[in-house]
């Protein structure tokens, strides 16, 4: 099929911080001795990402996501392990490597606060040594796509957050990077701006750019990512196409049930009650591997007499929340 452009093998990152006590006595003590604390941020993770992919990199805060991302962008050295991206080892051939990638950090701006984005673009043209005609062509195309023509000449400080974030994307992609890393790119944005940016990412992806995306916004993930890597406690707990995510805990459906008779004593194998609005109206989770849908319908109608009902997929949030909470899922 397609070739993998990112290969990570047994990546490990351990660092040392210092413990500081909270009591007065501890803080006096810490003036003289500090207790080193070893933190294993990333524990032997391995994965591959194919060219042309949009890969969502998920995990709770402190799971090791940003450490991994920093290693992949050449900012940090790993403790040990191999990384090969576009044929480079990021931290060893940093300058050659970063010329071919781009990055957008939702919380760290590459724009310059008091001057227009156009000037920041110009500075980056010089830094990446982009030929003038290619720069003009790329800029025009992206300005068009993101609809930021009017704001380019205004000082950054007067722009809205959405406008600024669009310009961040332009900065990151002016030099035609093959891979673009996005670190929480839609944080704090309104719905319209989010949609515009997602559309842009899809468009650029169709033209061949590979995206690696970390985010806490699952709408980003659902609308963009095809591959999902879930990381928790420094370990990968899920690495598959997004379709498989909802089936991670088996084949389950969410059922909303309204009946004539009371549901209070209603119990079936494979059925879990989630919440109940009143005696005759409740939500359930049904495990289809234990109780097929057809059998459930027949029994429920017979016992309770169904008035109305709806069947939904388990929402991705619930799956991810469950995954974050498990320490180590059984395979």
């Amino acid at each position: 099929m397609s070739e993998s452009i990112i290969t990570v093998r047994n990546l490990n990152k351990t660092y040392t911080t210092y413990e500081r006590g909270s009591s007065f006595k501890d803080s006096v003590k810490s003036l003289f001795v500090r207790k080193p604390l070893k933190v294993e941020a990333v524990k032997n993770i391995s994965f591959e990402i194919q060219k042309g992919e949009i890969c969502g990199f998920l995990g709770p805060n402190g799971a090791g996501k940003s450490t991994t991302l920093k290693i992949l962008t050449g900012i940090l050295f790993p403790t040990h392990g191999e990384v090969n991206i576009l044929g480079y080892v990021p931290w060893k051939q940093r300058r050659e490597y970063v010329a071919r990638i781009g990055a957008v950090f939702g919380q760290k701006s590459q724009l310059l606060w008091d001057i227009p984005p156009a000037d920041a673009f110009e500075l980056n043209r010089a830094i990446y040594n982009i030929p003038r005609d290619r720069f003009k062509k790329n800029l025009a195309a992206m300005v068009e796509l993101l609809d930021v023509g009017e704001v380019m000449g205004k000082p950054t400080r007067v722009l809205s957050l959405g406008e600024r974030m669009k310009c961040e994307f332009i900065i990151a992609m002016l030099h035609d990077p093959e891979i673009v890393f996005l670190d929480e790119p839609t944080i704090g944005l309104d719905v319209v701006a989010k949609e515009k940016i997602r559309g842009f990412v899809k468009e650029m992806n169709q033209k061949g750019t590979t995206f690696i995306l970390t985010t806490h916004d699952l709408d980003d993930v659902e609308s963009l990512a095809r591959q999902i890597i879930l990381i928790n406690h420094g370990e990968i707990i899920f690495n598959d196409p997004i379709e498989k995510l909802s089936r991670f805990f088996g084949c389950k459906k969410k059922i909303n049930l309204q009946t004539d008779r009371s549901q209070i004593d209603f119990q079936l194998p494979g059925l879990k009650s989630l919440d109940r609005r009143n005696d005759t109206h409740g939500n359930y989770e049904l495990d289809l591997d234990i109780l097929p849908l057809k059998a459930f319908l027949a029994q429920a109608d017979e016992i309770l007499c169904i008035k109305d009902m709806s069947i939904e997929e388990i929402p991705i949030e619930s799956v991810i929340t469950a995954l974050y909470e498990t320490k180590k899922p059984e395979d």
Partner: protein, 261 residues
């Protein structure tokens, strides 16, 4: 490669000046405050001489010439490259130092490009005026003296650069420590007075090892026809200091990229 680096640097200066001009009043207040601050030491020298005492064999204009040239040296180096110090400290503290590492240039060069500080041009102005006043009250120097002083002055800029690199490197590890400038101010205080007032070991250190005398004291001494150490030895000292500073920066950068968090 050098041409492209120069183009980046020019672009960096343009953006820095444009940013600064966004707050013009603030800019001029800043320059004024800085000039007042820079005039404190010359004022102290003036008050000392006024009370009827002097540094042996140095008249007041000769002493102030050192301080004028030192101020010019700062007026050039502070805007052009000393900004790497605050730029690095601020960026490491805010976490935006990472943004310099995702650019296809050396981190030190990126810190330089994004660290131009237009406000410090005020020092150049102040130093120029002070030097002018002193020169007008001193016997004129000949062309050879001027050329010689120019060579020493350029080497002095090398010392300033090395100092900036060491401070910026320290700023990588020592997060948020703006007091580093105090170290610079205290150590360079040895370089703004006649060298003859210092004890021999101190003079050797500030001539050859941490050659801060190169910044103002030696160039001024040359114009005044006073003896200075030979060019060969002092340039060796400057080269050593520069090499050491770049080595130190590399060490500190490596420790940044291998830290975690």
């Amino acid at each position: 490669m050098i041409k492209s680096a120069f183009a980046v640097y020019i672009q960096g200066i343009k953006t820095a000046i444009a940013s600064r001009m966004a707050y013009r009043t603030d800019y001029f207040i800043g320059i004024t405050v800085m000039l007042i601050w820079e005039m404190v030491v010359p004022m102290v020298v003036f008050l000392i001489y006024r009370s009827g005492v002097a540094f042996p064999n140095w008249n007041i204009y000769e002493v102030l010439l050192i301080q004028g040239i030192f101020m010019i040296a700062k007026g050039i180096s502070y805007p052009c490259f000393f900004g790497i110090v605050w730029n690095t400290i601020v960026r490491v503290q805010e976490g935006t130092f990472d943004l310099l590492l995702i650019k296809p240039r050396s981190a030190l060069f990126m810190a330089l490009v994004t660290g131009f500080d237009a406000e410090d041009l005020g020092k150049l102005l102040g130093g120029g005026v002070l030097t002018g006043i002193c020169l007008a009250n001193l016997p004129p120097a000949n062309l050879a003296q001027w050329l010689n002083m120019f060579i020493y002055f350029i080497l002095g800029q090398g010392v300033m650069f090395s100092f900036a690199v060491i401070m910026a490197g320290t700023g990588i590890k020592w997060v948020g420590n703006f007091r580093l400038y105090e170290i610079f101010d205290s150590v360079t205080a040895f370089g703004i007075y006649p060298q003859s007032i210092f004890a021999k070991p101190i003079r050797i250190i500030i001539s050859y090892i941490i050659p801060i005398a190169m910044i103002g004291a030696f160039p001024a001494s040359i114009l005044l026809g006073k003896p200075v150490p030979q060019l060969g030895w002092v340039s060796l000292g400057v080269a050593g200091f520069l090499t050491l500073s770049l080595f130190y920066w590399r060490r500190m950068l490596a420790s940044y990229t291998s830290a975690g968090g």
